[in-house]
Subunit: 392 residues, 2 copies
Amino acid sequence: MINPQSLALGTKRNTIMELADYGRRRAAQIGKENVFDFSIGNPSVPAPAQVNEAILDIIQNMDSLAVHSYTSTMGDLKTRAVIAQDLNGRFGCDAKAEELLLCCGAAPEVAAACKALTTEGAEILVFAPYFPEYKPYVEQAGAIFRIVPADIPNFQLNLDALEAMLTPNTSAVIVNNPNNPVGSVYSRQTIEKLAALLDRKSQQFGHRIYIIADEPYRELHYDGAVVPFIPGIYPHTVVCYSYSKSLSLPGERVGYIYVPGNAQDGRDLYHAIVGAARAMGHVCAPSLMQLVLQRCAHLQPDLAVYSKNRQTLVDALTQYGYEMAKPEGAFYIFLKAPGGDDQAFSKKAMAKDLLLMPGSDFGCPGYLRLCYCVSYDTIVRSLPIFKELIEN
Amino acid sequence: MINPQSLALGTKRNTIMELADYGRRRAAQIGKENVFDFSIGNPSVPAPAQVNEAILDIIQNMDSLAVHSYTSTMGDLKTRAVIAQDLNGRFGCDAKAEELLLCCGAAPEVAAACKALTTEGAEILVFAPYFPEYKPYVEQAGAIFRIVPADIPNFQLNLDALEAMLTPNTSAVIVNNPNNPVGSVYSRQTIEKLAALLDRKSQQFGHRIYIIADEPYRELHYDGAVVPFIPGIYPHTVVCYSYSKSLSLPGERVGYIYVPGNAQDGRDLYHAIVGAARAMGHVCAPSLMQLVLQRCAHLQPDLAVYSKNRQTLVDALTQYGYEMAKPEGAFYIFLKAPGGDDQAFSKKAMAKDLLLMPGSDFGCPGYLRLCYCVSYDTIVRSLPIFKELIEN
């Protein structure tokens, strides 16, 4: 009596992780330096020095039991207060510790938010191209997964298409800003238009449509792009944050959910998320990392490395004839697949040990995702392969 | 459109965590030393020194990116190999790295195992008294939660009652050995009887009934009690292990699932668990702790402290007139509530800042759970209160 959906999810697996695993195996065969692995968003900038300094200090100077014990399910209160203060200072909001829930990264946060916002027949919408794991998160919640078509070639939010798809069953819309896989940033004006639409439709349908804001890339933006803080525009938002990218701690699984106090039914929603997380086995976020965040939550990433990688790739690939959306955030470039077939191009690239994710996996065939969180040397040495691939 | 089940779970919350939170608040008011908090299984023995030494060495000497990056979803291969080797050495099994899945502790492991073993109408059974979170784990999976009545006053597995409750819809039985909340240990002979019953019923129903073995307390046993390794008796078992108790790392959220290679449909089941975990947002177990396990997975806990606590309590409480099941494992004593009303007695105790969990929360009214993973001083100073409570 094995669950067929679970089996399918576990057998086919997440293509990103599959490709990354392939990259690891290939690296073991031919050497890490000979695999041009642009498949996974594993930060290439180390965690700020303060993070490891904090770990050493905590381990050397704090009571071991205090470090490694369970915290409250919602997270250490002092850590939550520090994070709330950081948000308030940076975004002028009024976040409170009790509006935050520390979790094991954005993935279980989005899954729990989906569950908390699902009643019989509920629909949760995403904008293509989208992070492929949204589908299992929405479906495990019991909601219907609906995809708003991509806005090609601008890759902004396709609000006309969204409006046509909003129904009385719409419970939430997932917004990922800056966007994975495109690297686009939705401006304040765009989010304001989205908010106005959701307000209007919420009124029309007689229930609130929430935004689930998946924001692991919030701090990663370039060329002066400004990433708006969505709750400041639309308070009916569940912020799902992770320190995976901003502190380069993806493996440590630590982040937070924030449900603003002025969100409609905000306290109920917060408690429903706590309940949903509990049913999925959330006990607490890793306790050592919670203590690290008390000292490091305010740190900002050093973007110089990513910025240089990005510029080098954009310049060279454009020169070779590749087309791409303007990459203003995260560490992704979304390339138009030469020849139009992303799967075929990805395979062709793979044969040269250059790993690119097909856009089909993000609900956007004809494109390829390139993660430029790799060493600069990898980028420089990959350029001739990119050139050769488009020329043939 | 807020999910009412999630809201209920998040509002009522886990009584253990509620009581532990109360204990924390009360400690802030009257001083930690004046709260006799027997409510939560937070180990009172610090992690072995090697754990913190490993953390320091890893942070000081390894590449920060290698420490904090995503691992494979299933977990670092070397860590899994080390754990497999440890299991094989201790239990004479033939575990392989690819049969292990590293997870964020036993809670999400049990939740994922339940999901993977749930098809339409599936029933998952637990033995009372049971860890209360099993109910939300089973129900989030979509299975029907059924409780096998307690075997009072022995608190062994009630196999006659189980047999009467097994139906063609039974998918799995959760076994927690040593047991929380009782502290009982099920012997090899008991597990053999259970295995024979499940084998017979699996044949009768034409499908395999699995055991979900929730084993965070496997290494915690006293007085020469032997905790059998269930897959060695019944291979159709999903082992859900956590290092929370054996390495005193409950806050760090790290453990593993083991599906033996000779379990029926074992590979499918393994993949279905990977898929179920993925849908709940499992990305990887905390990466630093995975590295720590490479060095520390084989360590055994120092049981002297718990053993002394246990003996002191058993001797004193017995002398005062309390009755209890024989506590051979974990760090729990299951007391018969004087007067018969566990809720009332728990409240009476709470008024004296002595925190005991009512057995009702474990599906066994009339009893109280006492966690003796506290300081010896707390135990000694709590004894007059226990004495006073039973005398009045």
